[in-house]
């Protein structure tokens, strides 16, 4: 369990490095080495660390611990076959944590990042519709039941492709350098994490590594099924590379456009769910 937690963190960081590398190669740049995010984490953990004078000291430090803690919990929920609702509850909690990162620093860049994090909460709405679609087919929201359903009826990716697309949009909104990455936009320096540096940023990187691993793993598990770990990693990698292609080839949307696109995706999903219910 301890080994899995640590290896999931490093695998997630490695995947973020691969994400950056693939984007760079598509854009005809050499890009950083794929282990760059691991090096970043180690580098930040050696840097001088303090809390800005304008920060709320308790919140500034606590959000880092909470950020890592909630994604540890998410990892256990996914690996133990727990409820999708808990997993997606944690995903929403992450939004509050992002908001806390931004507001706790007292920096205007961090604050704007935090506010954008709340705006981008629209990306969670397709998530709820995705959950509804999954429930209509599997009659359960327990991951182990969903996996068992797929073992008999085939992958949900083929049964409910619009729900898989909605989940893909959610993943895309969480990937750095993507069209929906408005919380880390360059005009905000590093957005909500601008003032978290040194050890705090290293903790944030650990949180990002875990989050990337958990979200990719959950997407494969819920829409394709359970496989041996090497096959799961291969499928996660394939999913990641496809996300990298989208990130490399699409510009970052403005906050307004980002919300509009995600709201339209939600509207489409709601129509799809109503059609499913009517046909049933």
């Amino acid at each position: 369990m301890i080994g899995y937690l640590v290896s999931a963190t490093f695998t997630g960081l490695l995947m973020l490095g691969i994400h950056r590398k693939v984007i760079a190669r598509i854009q005809k740049r050499p890009g950083p080495p794929i282990w760059q995010e691991i090096l970043h984490t180690l580098k930040f953990s050696f840097k001088s660390t303090w809390v800005p004078a304008t920060a709320s000291r308790t919140l500034f430090i606590a959000v880092v611990l909470i950020g890592i803690g909630i994604w540890c919990a998410a990892l256990f929920v996914v690996t133990e076959g727990g409820s999708v609702l808990i997993l997606f509850g944690i995903y929403m909690l992450h939004k509050i944590v992002e908001h806390g990162y931004g507001l706790s620093s007292g920096s205007p860049y961090g604050k704007f990042g935090g506010v954008r994090s709340v705006i981008s909460a629209t990306s969670e709405i397709p998530l709820f519709v995705t959950i509804a679609a999954i429930y209509l087919f599997t009659h359960s929201l327990i991951i182990s039941d969903i996996v068992a359903y797929q073992a008999v009826h085939g992958p949900l990716l083929l049964s409910v492709p619009p729900a898989a697309v909605a989940m893909y949009l959610v993943l895309l909104s969480k990937m750095p350098y993507g069209p929906f990455s408005i919380v880390e936009s360059k005009e905000l320096v590093s957005g909500y994490k601008t003032e978290h540096f040194g050890v705090w940023r290293a903790g944030l990187e650990v949180c990002n590594g875990l989050k990337t691993y958990v979200l990719l793993y959950a997407a494969v598990l819920i829409f394709i099924g359970q496989f041996p770990i090497w096959a799961m990693l291969a499928l996660m990698l394939a999913l990641l590379v496809s996300l990298s292609f989208v990130c490399a080839l699409s510009p970052m949307l403005s906050p307004y456009d980002s919300v509009t696109v995600q709201t339209l995706a939600t509207a489409f999903m709601i129509v799809y769910i109503i059609a499913l219910v009517v046909m049933a």
């Binding site: 880092v64 540890c72 256990f76 903790g203």
Partner: protein
Amino acid sequence: MRRETAFKVMSAAALACIAAWTAMIAGWIPAFAAMAVFIVAFPVFVIFLALWWMYSQGKEDIPFIGY
């Protein structure tokens, strides 16, 4: 924070993780209890490990004093 304090907290968090894992393997506590310990202790371990090993013995940089 003093380096010794960071080391003590980091060690306590690591021991809590190892103890929970051992107790789970031995069947003394259920898996969810061990996971609850990990969820609390792992972030503490990560942060205090970094605080311990980055602790400077030399002259500090000029700190950022806020906006």
